[in-house]
């Protein structure tokens, strides 16, 4: 049977739909003067000042806390809570404090510095620098404004430690479970998993700073949503711009992109068993990969080939002579394999993770290039947590990794290159190159800049030959913002994750 129905309902629906474009939701655009809305890539798991809880947390830490030393926008070390530091003798550094105030109104004194370092070294501490600070000989506070740090061995990079975002100075009068810092912004409110609200600290020691009245941080885990939020005007600034979206941001006249080659991708090996316990096989891997293909496939062309150690070209420690140390040369790869006794090819397992696109894509491209020279790898791509566990236990032959160095100083590469350190997924498993360990030790204790450069040049030469890791690509690390945002800067090289320091000079019109 058929029953004819009226069209009234349908017409009503159509009329309702037609009004949709007029129903603009208020607040869809970010527009409060002096208040910056920042789209963070994930909600920080915790904002514990001295623990490493990821780069999202680090960015927030740089808003709230300050250490003795920090970095200028050009990447050079600059005085922060310490107005100066000097080397009294090879094992003694002296820091002179300036007049600065904590967010609870207390003066920053040498006692606070000592207390903070003591907390870092405490027995139950989860601080990133716990081992280093525990290894200090003693910390002296001759007066309120002077801190004398005595080390057991000469440590040329101690000021770099003090510049780390894991080394902020906290008021010793902080209530239990709270951490009062001396940074430009005060954490006012947070909704776990959603947002954080920060307000300018009027007592910040730098006159005229911060320029913003406040910062609202919204966590956008989905990269496409983060970009959409910027395009639609929901946020003023975003971090971790996905590579595929960079062109779209450049094309939008209301937006600007600030990207640097900061982090990098590389391969690590299991040095405890064949075939990668043989440096010739590792070197064969290094020469088998056409990095340009990787940059295109995994990073949409937003990056550059890395055919030597990951020391940025702008650094004084950059060695141009090793620029093509691991150049693409499949014939050389085959020769090296034959020399090592693998003329008929090699079969191995390669660890990566399917959780992050860049790790997955990199693994797939590397797999193809290796197959072309006779190294057949079977991919193992579990979730990130499993990948970390497998990596730490050395249950792989070759693995894809991505990270940024601790600093632009070559000492920042020690955790990736020094095979005598405890097993970790970030470096090759059980792969010790004695000469590299020796040279890293020498470089750490050498105060003469020229001699240090020579030491690290030699180290890079050894690394190119021995390939304890194999560089793949630099990857572009981008911040994008509305044109109205000024004063924010993406810091160079490994310091890209320190860009949060420049929130103090950021303005939004």
């Amino acid at each position: 049977m058929t029953i004819s129905a009226t069209r009234r309902a349908l017409l009503g629906g159509a009329a309702a739909a037609a009004t949709l474009p007029f129903l603009r939701i208020p607040g869809a655009r970010a527009a409060t003067p002096g208040l910056l809305t920042f789209g963070l890539s994930s909600y920080p798991p915790s904002i514990q000042p001295w623990a490493n809880t990821g780069t999202a947390a680090a960015t927030v830490k740089l808003m709230i806390y300050r250490g003795l030393v920090s970095y200028a926008p050009d990447g050079s070390l600059r005085p922060e809570l310490a107005e100066s530091w000097t080397l009294e003798n090879p094992t003694t550094w002296v820091f002179k404090l300036r007049d600065a105030t904590f967010q609870n109104g207390d003066k920053v004194t040498s006692a606070d510095v000592k207390w903070s370092l003591d907390q870092i070294a405490a027995e139950r501490s989860t601080a990133y620098f716990r081992a280093q600070i525990q290894g200090l000989d003693r910390i002296e506070t001759p007066d309120d404004k002077t801190v004398r740090i005595v080390t057991k061995e000469p440590v040329v990079t101690l000021p770099i430690w003090m510049a780390s975002y894991h080394m902020p100075i906290i008021s010793r009068n902080s209530p239990r479970g709270q951490f009062i810092g001396a940074g430009p912004f005060i954490l006012k409110a947070q909704e776990r998993g959603v947002s954080l609200d920060l307000e300018a600290f009027s007592g910040y020691y730098k006159p005229g700073l911060p320029k913003l009245k406040g910062i609202r941080i919204n966590a956008y885990g989905d990269e496409n949503l983060r970009v959409a939020a910027l395009h639609s005007g929901d946020v003023d600034l975003i971090e971790y711009v996905p590579w595929q979206s960079m062109d779209g941001i450049i094309a939008n006249p209301g937006l600007k992109l600030d990207a640097v080659d900061g982090a990098f991708m590389f391969l690590v090996f299991n040095g405890t068993r064949p075939p990668f316990n043989d440096h010739r096989v590792r070197k064969a891997v290094a020469h088998a990969i056409k990095r340009e293909d990787l940059v295109k496939a995994a990073f949409f062309g937003r990056g550059s080939p890395l055919t030597q150690l990951p020391i940025p070209p702008g650094s004084t420690f950059y060695n141009a002579e090793y620029k093509d140390g691991w150049n693409y040369d499949p014939d050389l790869s085959k020769r090296l394999l034959a020399e090592a006794g693998f003329a008929n090819g090699v079969t191995a397992s390669m660890l990566s993770t399917a959780q992050y696109g860049m790790h997955k894509d990199t693994a797939e491209v590397v797999q193809q290039h290796l197959a072309a020279v006779g190294i057949n790898v079977e991919l193992n791509m579990p979730d990130w947590a499993t990948r970390v566990a497998i990596g730490n236990r050395g249950q792989y032959d070759i693995a894809v990794m991505g990270t940024a160095a601790d600093s632009n100083d070559p000492e920042g590469l020690a955790s990736l290159l020094d095979g005598t350190l405890s097993p970790s997924y970030v470096r090759s498993y059980g792969l010790k190159v004695d000469r590299i360990t020796e040279l890293l030790g020498k470089g750490r204790a050498e105060f003469d800049e020229t001699k240090r450069r020579a030491i690290y040049r030699e180290m890079e030469g050894v690394a190119i030959e021995q390939a304890p890791l194999v560089g793949l690509t630099w990857r572009s690390q981008g911040y994008a913002m509305r044109s109205a945002v000024t004063g924010f800067k993406n810091m160079p090289g490994a310091l890209t994750f320190y860009s949060g320091l420049t929130f103090e000079t950021t303005e939004v019109a």
Binding site: L23, A28, A385, V426
Partner: protein
Amino acid sequence: MLAYAARRLLVSLALVWVVATLVFMVIHIIPGDPAELLLAQGGVAPDPWLVTDLREKLGLDQPLMTQYWTYLGGLAQGNFGYSLLDDHSVADEIVLRLPRTLELVGAAALIALLVGLPLGVLAALRAGEMLDRVLSSLAALALSVPVFVVGTLIILVLAQNLRLIPAGGYVALAKDPLRHLGLLLMPAITIAVGLGAVVLRVTRASVLEVLERDHVRAAQARGVSVAAIIRRHVVRNALTPVVTVVALHLGALLGGTVLVEFVFNWPGVSGYLVRSVESRDYPEVMGIVLVISALFVLLNFVVDLLYAVIDPRVRHG
């Protein structure tokens, strides 16, 4: 009746216990160590003794059975434990997030019914005609497109191009009701697209079936107006299967809105579960799965009781 209810309650509690035990075992068996992960954020290497220390601090160095009994003991006292990441109370977090997911699912169901029901009736009334074919094709399309595609398209068109609504996020209802509803709209529509298609199809089939029944013909023969026949005799009778299907889907959505919550930054319980699994935050994973399964079991328990009320044979069977 009382004995029957008691019996069902016991079975439900046993089910919850089985789920709790299964989840506990599975999450501890899969590889990945929360202490290691917690210290390895940002791609740096934690010292192994730091990991050992943290494992001890979190009680992860205890034998598995000891951890299991401690956990069950806590549960018996209504204590879901604390996040391994930041000591935050798991129960507090669930109380905060579960209503948001329920709200999202509820809004989606409302939209799906408002759109799917009338269109389903219309398609049935015009069965075989052009309109029916168009609606049925649209429903098939809506069903086959994955939610993340719908979600991303909606963001692209409504937020990025037309700038009608914010591109996702969350504001508490009490803080800004209008903005809250605006933010709710996109994820709710995204879920409603698939659900609405289901409603449309079921309604169409059900109405077609009822239209053939004798009482409809009789009403027609009596000269009852077309509108009254549809309203009183057809739709009302056709609703039962629709309600059943929607209820089934809502149950599945409770823990299944992960993608939508992620794409729209909606801080509900599903996204929370995924993040907890990623960071191997054992107490959080167990707490959430337990609450969701308890809700399922509770729903079944209520349905069982209703059956018994309606049909006395169930009680004695």
